[in-house]
Symmetry: C2
Subunit: 208 residues, 2 copies
């Protein structure tokens, strides 16, 4: 089973629907029995948070991982009072803000729901239990985290080797939904530029 | 066992010394018997490459992972004929250029030894065998890759949220050896700036 099949293909806000979906995915895992599926599900918690909720504050030790089933989570840092947005996690994406979670140390960032957001939550203890009782999941998780790392490296490489305009065009190509879901100042920060530079880039492209 | 204990604390060019070191680390793993240690060692290959050797060309599928025991490996991309350096791996660092290796697809980058470099090589097949025969290693690897991902995220975050001068000062603080081991144009590229900007930053800091 590819871990991504865990996740729904369309955004939804119904917590019950999400739980049903998780069951149907687990049923496909051929090494699991019915009771085990229920045990695994009990480790996850599906919850909807209102827009504006901070899932994590800077300085807190992250105690859970999140998978986003519908909505948008923003990761940002505060530097000299200025917000620096480093990631957006939308439908079918896991929050891969691993810093702090893996090392059990205070996080240097915030996680904020920028829309009403429904997530499946897996706490640190639940994850350890999952790996202990079902070592196969650790193997699946290993493959999953390699894929995330791979995606992250591609993103960093693109960021390092591109001009701001190229970064914007890449965003248009890969995550066009962010353009209407996210305020311009957050988007500019995510692209590593000032809001006025983003405006200039958009005008330049629109006039072509 | 922390996987990092696998690695020598001082750079060395002696392949025999490195193999002895790997044995001494494996002896500490309490679930391994003597014969198993020999089996594991047989999966690794220690080799020294001359300065200038390309361990990987753009477009090749990466078939191995490397741990650097002495020397320097540079990762770079070619964009419009220009080299864009994205990483340096020096003593006691694993090459975490996972793109291509995890997905079994052509790599979009090069790996070049910028000094004579001694590495332990683990091929894809050897890694699968290691995980299959010793599932505990997959668990160690999972923790290791989480740590690498964590470090990588910190590096990207710093890159995104810092000025070029702050990036340079951070390099002075965290990897001062690179300043005398690496040509200025490669270092500038790694910092995301032009060589002339790096010269200006260095002069400004020297004059303070």
């Amino acid at each position: 089973m590819d871990i991504s099949t865990f996740y729904c293909s369309k955004p939804t806000r119904s917590e019950k629907t999400i739980e049903d979906l998780m069951v149907s995915c687990l049923v496909e895992v051929n090494f699991l029995k019915d009771k085990e599926i229920q045990n695994i599900l009990s480790l996850f918690h599906v919850q909807t948070f209102k827009k504006g909720t901070l899932l994590l504050n800077e300085g807190e030790i992250p105690r859970a991982t999140y998978h986003n089933f519908g909505g948008c989570i923003r990761q940002f840092h505060l530097k000299n009072g200025e917000e620096k947005t480093t990631a957006f996690y939308t439908e079918n994406q896991s929050v891969d803000a691993i810093t702090g979670f893996s090392s059990n140390t205070p996080a240097p960032y915030y996680l904020e729901c920028t829309e009403d957001t429904t997530v499946a939550i897996l706490h640190r203890k639940g994850r350890s239990e999952l790996f202990k009782c079902f070592p196969q999941f650790e193997s699946l998780y290993r493959v999953d985290i390699e894929q995330k790392f791979h995606n992250y490296q591609q993103r960093f490489t693109h960021f390092m080797t591109s001009t701001p305009e190229e970064r914007y065009l890449n965003l248009l190509d890969t995550r066009p939904d962010l353009l209407y879901r996210v305020p311009q100042y957050q988007l500019a920060s995510y692209l590593g530029i000032k809001p006025e530079s983003l405006s200039r880039i958009r005008k330049r492209i629109a006039s072509k």
